[in-house]
């Protein structure tokens, strides 16, 4: 009896081993995507690659705000179970600083010439290429068509018009109906960046003419903004737009999924943005591809990176998800309900600027938010506050070089 049991077990283990060995490697990919986006990934993006490379893709969702912590924990414990990450590019410096990623300088050739070169340039830190472009993204200005119908109000194209609109809406509704992201975190920094750049300023200088103009304008605008500004981030803004708490607000394209598809608000549309004293300016966000340093599947991950950047895939992402492509030859038509939004996105990208790829971005963020609180919310003097913080920021940036 004993021998029979042992033999059966042995056979079982052997066949198990055969099965697992013959199915190829597993590539672990992490990204921060919505349900509909994951659906497209699982149905259209992953299968051809899995077939071609005879492997399995294990896809995991990690929210953008949690990715750094999770990767760091895995790296420090030397148990890296993620091979490739589609990272939100809001603050890439810590990933480089903590040495979590593979240096991609050697693999530059994976990037086809059709890929927009300006997308690649900010991905270099200390002379090393650390990321591949994944998809560019930009905020658009959502507006309520019932209010902005041309007769009551027209969408503001300049700062002055924006101020006017905010004032009129507040007078009409007794409460502000326009908002900026005032949560004093990365959301705020992104929008302040846009205002500063649209005034010709440089966010790292902090107290140049453009920055002063931008903060002064925001200070004037704030009293006419919605009280929900302090709770408005990339997520809650969609709710506020959907329930008519806000009639005008800038936010990321993800809003169209939530506002139009989930909340079924067909009266919300979008346009690119308004112009400041130095013209229109938007901040280019988006996702980039990174490969973890201690991954055990680096070759496979690199292959997937190339695959993701290919023309076929980028075209697919345009037609299935309405994602702006990284390359000029990925032409496709977007689903109908998204067409207006897509047009706004592509136009907004044309006015796009990159944040400086510096190591001390979190220091910049800290001072921008401090300045926003002091100047815009509490109404302190623009020049003196900016001068103080500019000096402190410079000190910190020097220390972090």
């Amino acid at each position: 009896m004993h021998h029979m049991v042992r033999a059966t077990l042995g056979l079982l283990l052997f066949s198990l081993a055969m099965v697992t060995c013959s199915s190829g490697e597993t590539l672990s990919i992490a990204a921060s995507l919505g349900e509909n986006e994951w659906k497209v990934m699982r149905e259209h993006v992953f299968p051809p690659f899995e077939a071609r490379e005879n492997c399995r893709i294990r896809a995991v969702n990690i929210e953008a705000g949690d990715t750094l912590k999770k990767l760091e924990v895995m790296h420090r414990a030397n148990r890296m179970s993620i091979d490739l990450v589609l990272l939100d590019n809001m603050n890439l410096a810590p990933y480089v600083e903590k040495r979590l990623l593979l240096d991609l300088t050697k693999y530059q050739a994976l990037i086809d010439p059709e890929v927009d070169a300006s997308l690649v340039q900010p991905l270099t830190f200390h002379g090393q290429l650390m990321f591949f472009p994944g998809r560019p993204n930009v905020q658009i200005t959502y507006y309520n068509t019932d209010v902005f119908n041309g007769t009551n109000q027209t969408i503001p194209e300049t700062w002055d018009a924006l101020l006017e609109v905010a004032k009129q809406l507040k007078a009409a509704y007794k409460v502000g109906k326009v908002a900026v992201h005032g949560t004093l975190d990365g959301n705020t920094t992104a929008q302040v960046f846009e205002f500063i750049t649209a005034a010709g300023g440089k966010i790292t200088t902090f107290n140049d003419a453009g920055s002063i103009k931008a903060f002064t304008f925001l200070q004037q605008l704030y009293p006419y903004l919605s009280p929900e500004t302090k709770k408005a981030n990339w997520n809650t803004t969609n709710k506020f737009l959907s329930e008519d708490t806000l009639f005008l607000a800038r936010n990321w394209p993800v809003g169209m999924q939530v506002i139009v598809q989930q909340n079924q608000k067909t009266n919300i549309k979008a346009y690119a943005t308004w112009a400041g004293p130095a013209g229109r300016a938007t901040m280019i966000g988006g996702d980039v591809i990174a490969i973890t340093k201690r991954s055990s599947n680096q070759e496979l991950a690199l292959k997937f990176a190339g695959y993701f950047m290919s023309r076929e895939m980028q075209t697919l992402l345009v037609t299935e998800l309405g994602w702006p492509p990284i390359r000029s030859d990925a032409l496709g038509s977007v689903p109908e309900w998204q067409q207006g939004f897509f047009k706004a996105i592509m136009e907004a990208l044309r006015y796009g600027h990159y944040r400086p790829a510096i190591m001390g971005w979190s220091a910049v963020e800290k001072y921008v938010n401090l300045a926003f609180k002091d100047i815009v919310i509490d109404g302190r003097d623009v020049q003196t506050t900016l001068d103080t913080y500019a000096r402190d920021l410079q000190e910190e940036l020097d220390w972090l070089k």
Partner: protein, 273 residues
């Protein structure tokens, strides 16, 4: 206490008001999970129900997503095991501490508490690194150990109070009768402490069921229920997360309904006699 303190009318009126305040947010949660978006996303909210009525669309989405059952199972498994382990580890220790002399006792209690006085985010990272080193990533076992960290001081504190409330005289009486230490424990202490232990157990189960921070660090592919809810919440998927939230709350309501009569069965009264 004399019954005339509780006149029926003012009693039931105040009970109704309190119940309303307690239940309304829960009602909102369930309502949102079954509402058409148009009814929720508007400036003037309907207090009771929207004109478009009820829709089971969101519930259908949740059940067909294939994500519900695994996370339900994981949460259930972890919560129950955490509860059992916590009581097993904390109860004996709590008994000993409760019988200690004054300075020692307070020292122990403070030591127990120190962990809970510190912000979780600062502790969770180094702890998670250690756990990962021991290959506990993405395992239920790792999550159980992490939840114990959170829960042990809490349950220890409650149990110390429970054991403190058992009069020393009862124990002394038992040893005068010739019972050994272990026998005294079994026959006297354990039965009398049951209400307190039951309360502690239930609270531990709930805390683990709702736990979120450690789950965030220690989970990669199999989410627990709160993590799944967080995922939808974070992206504005209020309808899906309301459905998940209702699912999270339902067993709790059922459990409390079943257990609430046992909390007051007056087990202690027998000991006094």
């Amino acid at each position: 206490m004399p019954k005339k303190l509780l006149q029926p009318l003012p009693l039931y009126l105040s009970l109704a008001v309190v119940s309303l305040i307690i239940l309304y947010p829960i009602f909102l949660m369930v309502k949102i999970s079954a509402s058409y978006p148009a009814d929720i996303m508007k400036p003037h909210k309907d207090l009771l129900w929207g004109p478009a009525g009820i829709t089971l669309e969101h519930w259908r989405n949740v059940f067909t997503s294939g994500l519900l059952v695994p996370s339900l199972f994981k949460s259930l498994l972890v919560a129950t095991l955490v509860m059992l382990l916590a009581i097993l580890i904390a109860a004996p220790a709590a008994y000993v501490i409760a019988r200690l002399g004054s300075p020692f006792k307070y020292l122990c209690i403070i030591a127990l508490f120190l962990s809970r006085t510190f912000p979780e985010v600062a502790i969770a990272l180094p702890v998670s690194v250690v756990f990962l080193h021991w290959d506990l990533l993405d395992t239920s076992f790792g999550l159980i150990l992490a939840h114990l960290i959170k829960v042990l001081p809490y349950v220890g504190w409650i149990l110390i109070g429970t054991f403190e409330a058992i009069p020393l005289s009862l124990e002394e009486a038992s040893s005068v009768d010739g019972a050994s230490k272990i026998r005294t424990l079994r026959k006297v202490i354990v039965p009398l402490s049951l209400p307190g232990v039951a309360v502690a157990a239930m609270l531990v189960w709930l805390e683990s069921w709702n736990e979120f921070t450690y789950a965030l660090y220690l989970t990669v592919s199999d989410n627990t229920l709160p993590l799944q809810t967080y995922y939808y919440l974070n992206r504005g998927g209020i309808f899906n997360s309301a459905a998940y939230a209702t699912i999270i709350t339902l067993p709790v309501i059922v459990l409390t309904f079943i257990l609430q009569r046992y909390i007051t069965s007056g087990m202690l009264a027998g000991g006094v006699k």
